[in-house]
């Protein structure tokens, strides 16, 4: 066992760092620094640059456009990305539907969809949750009925999806739909890829507590989907869904991003005064909480490293990844609590956004106007991607055998 990086790994780190420094778009950096809202092109810009370099999907098998990196290299890459605060490729394509397609799709499906996912040219969204099917995802009711028209087979899809993140920008969506009503609920679900421009799809915004428009309702009214858009067998979509949830959970730990988050918290707490003549970071109450948070993050980091090592030796991400999701999201939320506390009285002022080119200076310290909205918004992390209650159920059943 050895924690030190090899000379090759150190060289790799330098290569990644230099690539980001030389290629990260300056206008994007500016918008991020100002806390400006990012548009569709902004969110895709870095993805497209990474794609040209061949680095968009480090976790994919090399045959499908992955990098062929070791687990350590992937770890270094994600650390450097977080350190530089790059906008990562959207998870819906690279982390979610991509692996489902290359694992369960036909040769034609792989050829048709994987290139657009890799290049960032096609924006994907996830049609899983429904108003009545959240934690109990298998109770979903959006139904797909098979019809034949002009000798071609289609599904006619009807129902409503919700919490569909960034669907307002999406070109394609992957949907769980009910294709059989009898038997166990899990056994009648199919996994469909749907072109979001298909007639009958309506996307309606849901505004969240910080004033953001991130999530949407997606209504499907007699949406006609070719049968060849189904991944894997009919009524076997749950297998894809479970596989995807496990994949989603590993990235969800967000260790590197949380490291960066704590660095920013410390920068804030060095600049802010505690009202007793010292920086907030020197305040005994506050510094204790930061120390605890850093300790929790180290524990998560080494748990994730052990999981990655297991994956490298051939173990797929299993139910252990639920631990990473629970602890990872708790840490992400804790960071936002401490930033909120650091804002003090300046947590209260609400500024959705400063108009571009505005001379208006922000109220209070720069970080403060996002402190409360971010605290509110990040409550989502223990709810999405399989709520933390569901993750604990998974650990109880699958790991502990209870």
């Amino acid at each position: 066992m050895d924690l030190a990086f090899s000379p090759e790994e150190t060289a790799f780190r330098e290569e990644v760092r230099a690539f980001i420094a030389d290629n990260y778009p300056a206008h994007l950096r500016g918008k991020q620094d100002e806390g400006e809202e990012l548009g569709r092109d902004d969110m895709l810009a870095w993805h497209k640059i990474l794609a040209k370099k061949g680095w968009a999907a480090p976790a994919w098998p090399k045959d499908y456009g992955g990098t062929g990196w070791t687990a350590t290299q992937r770890y270094i890459f994600s650390e450097e990305s977080a350190r530089a605060e790059t906008i990562p490729p959207l998870p819906f394509g690279i982390n979610m539907v991509g692996p489902v397609i290359y694992t369960f799709g036909t040769a034609e499906q792989k050829a048709k969809y994987l290139p657009g996912i890799l290049s960032g040219d096609v924006w994907w969204c996830q049609g899983y949750s429904e108003p009545g099917a959240g934690s109990d995802l298998a109770s979903l009711r959006t139904r797909a009925e098979r019809v034949t028209e002009d000798g071609k087979d289609y599904y006619i899809v009807n129902g409503q999806k919700t919490w569909t993140t960034l669907a307002q920008h999406a070109d394609w969506g992957f949907f769980l739909v009910r294709t059989a009503a009898d038997g166990k609920p899990q056994e009648g679900i199919s996994f469909l890829l749907i072109d979001m421009k298909t007639p009958g799809i309506t996307v309606k915004p849901i505004i969240t507590l910080g004033g953001e428009h991130e999530v949407n309702e997606v209504w499907l009214d007699n949406v006609k989907v070719p049968v060849e858009n189904r991944i894997y067998e009919e009524n076997k979509g749950w297998t894809c869904a479970k596989f995807l949830l496990a994949h989603e959970r590993t990235g969800i730990a967000g260790v590197a991003r949380s490291k960066r988050g704590i660095e920013k918290l410390k920068t804030i707490a060095r600049a802010e005064q505690d009202g007793q003549g010292q920086p907030l970071l020197a305040n005994p109450f506050f510094r204790r909480k930061v120390a605890e948070l850093e300790t929790d993050l180290t524990a998560l980091e080494f748990t994730e490293l052990r999981t990655l090592a297991g994956e490298a030796s051939g173990k797929g991400p299993g139910p252990e990844s639920s631990l990473l999701k629970v602890k990872g999201t708790e840490i992400q939320q804790r960071i936002t609590e401490l930033v909120l506390e650091a804002a003090g009285n300046y947590a209260a002022p609400y500024f959705r956004q400063f108009p571009e080119g505005s001379n208006e200076y922000p109220i209070g310290p720069d970080f403060a106007h996002r402190a409360a909205p971010t605290y509110f918004n990040m409550r989502k992390t223990s709810i999405y991607g399989g709520s933390n209650e569901i993750q604990r159920n998974i650990i109880a059943k699958m790991v502990l055998g209870l």
């Binding site: 949750s129 009545g132 099917a133 959240g134 934690s135 109990d136 109770s139 919700t162 919490w163 849901i206 505004i207 969240t208 507590l209 004033g211 999530v215 802010e272 005064q273 505690d274 009202g275 007793q276 003549g277 907030l280 305040n283 109450f285 506050f286 609590e337 909120l340 506390e341 804002a343 003090g344 009285n345 300046y346 947590a347 209260a348 002022p349 609400y350 500024f351 109220i363 209070g364 409360a372 909205p373 605290y375 509110f376 918004n377 409550r379 989502k380 223990s382 709810i383 999405y384 709520s387 933390n388 209650e389 604990r392």
Partner: protein, 379 residues
């Protein structure tokens, strides 16, 4: 010992609860926040005249009912249940108590105007560099022969955009963070040299940054002793702290009710989520926090005249703040995604409660006050 409310207090509570249920339901509140100026001034006027409750906690000689902090507690709990955005804390609790303490012409003129709803007060006690330390002041007031000239910046003054008067602290002597040299001023909002920057707050109130730029005010603006106002300001803030604890209690009880209702109605895995033990225990933990918030609010309010006042108030606010964190987050988690949207009221209770955590001292601030007491005991 008697924990019963007087007949007047019970009547006040019932009247206000009925009024808020009729005129301040969630949809009306949300519509009101979207109006120009972010509020409906008619509500405050109605509270003063139709219901006549703004004088409940103020002395009879000024036209009040002769009540006190318990009356304010009763009202604030109801405001909390409705997540009302009315300026009761700064106007009646801080402004009213300051004027009663000052007496004289100010009190004779302004207290009746507060009770009739015509005078609204914004309290500027905090500054950007000072966090929750009331003595950490850079704002100065200099005697200029005809009165005082004020210079400085006050943070997040709630209700300032529509206030008629500001109550602000300024240094007339001493150094930053020194107890001595703090003076209290009551100035008219439209005084020359006061610049406001108005904004909404994340929890639905309106507030301002106040900039004093050679603002000159008359000699009568000084309230109380020159350089000796810190003890009074601390008293006023302790009263205000208990008022927001009462507001938090009302909001916590209501948010618990909303979450309990949701857990009974929301079905997953073929049963109400409230049937799952993990949800039951969470709802019980929330209940225990709300009950303790109510207890601590009552305790702190009844001990506002106690010699150990600051200890009791800090215990109350620290406990309430901890309760808010647990109950607020648990409420959102139990609601799931819908709890994070602006559609249901639950999220709006969570927002108000989270900002109450930061008002008049966070958990650490109150722990520091309590620990300072223990250090004195240890010495």
């Amino acid at each position: 010992m008697d924990f019963n409310f007087t007949e007047t207090q019970s009547m006040l509570r019932d009247t206000l609860r009925r009024y808020l249920a009729d005129s301040y339901d969630f949809d009306s509140r949300q519509a009101m926040l979207k109006k120009d100026g972010g509020r409906d001034p008619g509500i405050w006027k109605a509270l003063a005249t139709e219901i006549g409750l703004l004088g409940a906690a103020l002395p009879e000689q000024y036209g009040g009912f002769g009540g006190g902090p318990v009356d304010s507690m009763v009202l604030m709990e109801e405001f909390g249940r409705a997540i009302a955005v009315e300026p009761y804390v700064s106007t009646v609790v801080i402004g009213g108590n300051a004027l009663v303490a000052a007496g004289g012409a100010h009190a004779d003129a302004l207290l009746p105007a507060i009770i009739s709803g015509e005078a609204i007060i914004g309290a500027g006690f905090y500054e950007p560099q000072g966090r929750y330390n009331l003595a950490d002041l850079r704002t100065t007031a200099k005697a200029d022969g005809s009165g005082w000239t004020l210079n400085g910046h006050k943070s997040v003054v709630v209700a300032a955009p529509y206030a008629t008067h500001f109550l602000v602290t300024a240094r007339t002597g001493g150094s930053q963070r020194e107890g001595a040299g703090v003076s209290l001023f009551l100035v008219e909002a439209n005084s020359k040299g006061i610049v406001r920057r108005d904004y909404p707050t994340v929890d639905g109130f309106m507030a301002s940054e106040l900039y004093f730029e050679n603002a000159s005010v008359g000699p009568q603006a000084l309230l109380g002793a020159e350089g000796g106002a810190l003890p009074l300001v601390e008293t006023l803030v302790d009263h205000a702290t208990m008022a927001v604890c009462a507001e938090a209690t009302g909001a916590m009880l209501k948010l618990h009710e909303l979450t309990l209702d949701y857990a009974r109605q929301r079905k997953q895995f073929g049963k109400a989520i409230g049937d799952f033990q993990v949800i039951q225990h969470r709802l019980v933990d929330m209940f225990m926090e709300a009950e303790q918030a109510k207890s601590m609010t009552l305790m702190g309010t009844l001990r506002l005249d106690d010699a150990d006042r600051s200890k009791w108030v800090s215990q109350a606010k620290a406990k309430v703040n901890k309760g808010i964190r647990l109950l607020g987050q648990a409420a959102i988690q139990t609601h799931g995604g819908i709890g994070i949207t602006t559609e249901l009221s639950a999220g709006h209770y969570f927002k108000r409660l989270s900002i109450i955590e930061t008002q008049f001292g966070d958990f650490d601030h109150h722990m520091a006050r309590l620990e300072a007491g223990l250090m004195a005991e240890a010495a």
